[in-house]
């Protein structure tokens, strides 16, 4: 039997962590600016959260409590394996409870529970450049950021309204950070955009394949772009969560049969669980309705 391979704490070597921390500090100093960093190969494919994992590995300490969510859920493949990865290579405590976590690595959602000071939200970002689909040249987009030429971003929103009668961008909805940089909030639903504004938690964004880190420090202004006569709006749902009865949260549609039957449930599984534990019930939760309250 070959000896068990040993890793440095949190997998990355210390030099790499220092390099990434420097990029993180730079990103925090210039909110919304995409700081380049020397992204490493990780034991997972690009697009599975290599950027987020590298940030988490660089900031995590033995006392941290880690939560990982994928589309709001704690129990999907990506979330489970990244949690297991850090439990193994850093021997840290993990949790599914938002309130208990010090670091939350997320793929495309912000937890429903309001984050508190001292918590860090780490986003996995596939394409950090909000202008990329409008302007393919990196040299040009960097220049546009440098010179604050963001007219093109509104061209995209204009096209949406012209084609669909409303701003049809529902995720990766561009925001302006601290009145300066236009930033892609990673493909979170625009429902979560308001949560970024003046957030008490530090928000770090890592794009491993694209080798960029950007950040929104706590208490930073984050404004979603819009038109005066077509103001930014978040998604609304007609039905409450079928499991916990929550309203005003982001819901996933779940298809129940092949006859058009479907239900809406909380995308944030921890939030839903917590509500059910405290006695809230939805129409399909399986318990008698009178159990609610």
């Amino acid at each position: 039997m070959s000896p068990t391979p040993t890793y440095n704490f949190a997998y990355l070597d210390e030099q790499t962590k220092r390099m990434i921390r420097r990029a993180i500090l730079k990103a925090i100093a210039i909110p919304g600016y995409q700081a380049p960093f020397a992204s490493r190969e990780m034991p997972m494919p690009y697009g599975w959260g290599t950027g987020g994992v590298q940030i988490t590995a660089s900031i995590i300490g033995p006392d941290d409590v880690l939560k990982v969510i994928d589309q709001g859920a704690d129990d999907t493949t990506n979330a489970v394996s990244i949690r297991a990865f850090f439990a193994k290579v850093a021997n840290v405590a993990t949790t599914t409870r938002t309130a208990d976590a010090t670091i939350i690595q997320t793929r495309h959602r912000i937890p429903e529970r309001k984050l508190a000071e001292g918590q860090i939200l780490v986003y996995q970002v596939p394409i950090p450049e909000p202008l990329r689909f409008l302007e393919p040249r990196e040299t040009e987009t960097r220049k546009m950021h440098a010179l604050e030429e963001y007219g093109l971003m509104h061209v995209k929103l204009y096209e949406d309204i012209a084609k669909h009668g409303e701003i049809a961008t529902t995720y990766a909805y561009p925001v302006k950070v601290e009145g300066r940089y236009v930033m892609d909030p990673s493909p979170t639903p625009k429902f979560d955009n308001p949560k970024m504004h003046m957030s008490e938690a530090l928000q770090l964004f890592g794009a491993g394949r694209e080798k960029r880190i950007y950040a929104v420090p706590p208490y930073t202004e984050v404004v979603s772009l819009d038109f005066e006569d077509h103001p930014f709006e978040i998604q609304t749902f007609t039905d409450p969560c079928a499991m916990c009865g929550a309203e005003g949260v982001y819901l996933d549609e779940v298809v129940l049969d092949d006859k058009g039957g479907h239900m809406y449930v909380c995308s944030d599984t921890d939030h839903c669980e917590e509500r059910r534990l405290s006695g809230h019930r939805g129409v399909l939760s399986g318990d008698p309705l009178e159990a609610a309250e």
Partner: protein, 311 residues
């Protein structure tokens, strides 16, 4: 040519209001000029209405502009002044340095020598090549326009016509969808594109329509100076005629100053007030368009004029 830099300093002021504003005014001016038409008379103007009330200062003063690509010369020692409302045609065969000159003027290229002074909206002359990149790009999308020969170079082919026209407005901070759209509609009308094409992509437009759309996109911020590179190139003649008609009316309506690069003397005749003939990177003859075309002095210009196909 060596006298050019001095020449600019003695550039004549624009015609005094006493000059009769008649079709003969240009003839009168020409008569008073010396027998040869040296570069220092490039400043001559035809005295048309649109120049009035501009305080007499030129919009653009170009002094000894040269561009070398390594040791090869692109254009050399070009000097002229351009007044508001004036259209200057730069003609010559391909390879004569027309496009190099235009690219230098529009700051797409940095010249090797010389300078171009532009009168900013605050009436101050600034050397274009000493502006910061941010200032130059701002100028490019507000005060200037650039009409490319190939509309695909000047348009965003994958966004709708309305967004193409509205882009500049959004770039300068307009954030009202209704207003942007209304302005775009207005401009599509002015360049004779049907209102129901506003949400179509220029990919689905004909060549002439694309070129008209490009013009609308450039003019929507009311620029004061427009550069045009063979604006009618590649279009069939009937489409060319309508486009020229449109350009002519827009230029006079808006009091635009323009530098039009073309190898088509007919285009120059129709659009421009003044004309510069280039050969091997140098300006060999310049003057009022009618004068140059009807009474070409340089042998090369004579050749050029006599080469026009007669139908």
């Amino acid at each position: 040519m060596n006298t050019t830099s001095d020449a600019v300093n003695v550039t004549l002021p624009p015609p005094v209001p006493a000059t009769p504003v008649a079709s003969h005014s240009s003839v009168a001016l020409m008569a008073s000029s010396p027998q040869i038409d040296p570069p220092d008379r490039f400043a001559l103007r035809d005295g048309s209405e649109s120049h009035k009330g501009e305080g007499g200062a030129p919009l653009l003063k170009v002094e000894g502009l040269s561009k070398y690509y390594g040791t090869r010369m692109g254009c050399a020692d070009v000097s002229f002044s351009l007044w508001p409302g004036e259209v200057l045609a730069v003609v010559g065969e391909s390879g004569s340095g027309k496009t190099t000159l235009l690219n230098c003027l529009s700051t797409n290229l940095e010249p090797s020598f010389g300078r171009a002074l532009y009168r900013m909206r605050d009436e101050e002359f600034r050397n274009l090549y000493e502006l910061s990149e941010a200032e130059r790009r701002f100028l490019m999308r507000t005060d200037w326009g650039f009409v490319h020969q190939n509309p695909a170079d000047g348009l965003r082919m994958t966004v709708s016509a309305g967004a193409n026209v509205g882009e500049r407005l959004m770039a300068v901070g307009d954030r009202h969808y209704g207003r942007i759209r209304a302005t775009a509609l207005d401009w599509l009308g002015r360049v004779e594109i049907a209102a129901d094409r506003i949400d179509d992509e220029p990919r689905s437009f004909s060549g002439g329509m694309r070129q008209r759309l490009q013009i609308a996109r450039n003019l929507v911020t009311s620029p004061r100076l427009v550069f045009m590179d063979e604006p009618t190139g590649g279009l069939d003649v009937s489409v060319q005629a309508r486009l020229l008609d449109l350009l002519r009316s827009l230029v006079s309506e808006l009091g635009l100053a323009a530098v039009v690069v073309t190898h088509d003397l007919a285009v120059a005749r129709l659009l421009s007030h003044r004309m510069m003939v280039m050969k091997d990177g140098r300006v060999i003859e310049a003057g009022l368009t009618d004068r140059v075309l009807d009474d070409p002095r340089e042998p090369y210009t004579q050749l050029l004029v006599s080469s026009i196909l007669q139908v």
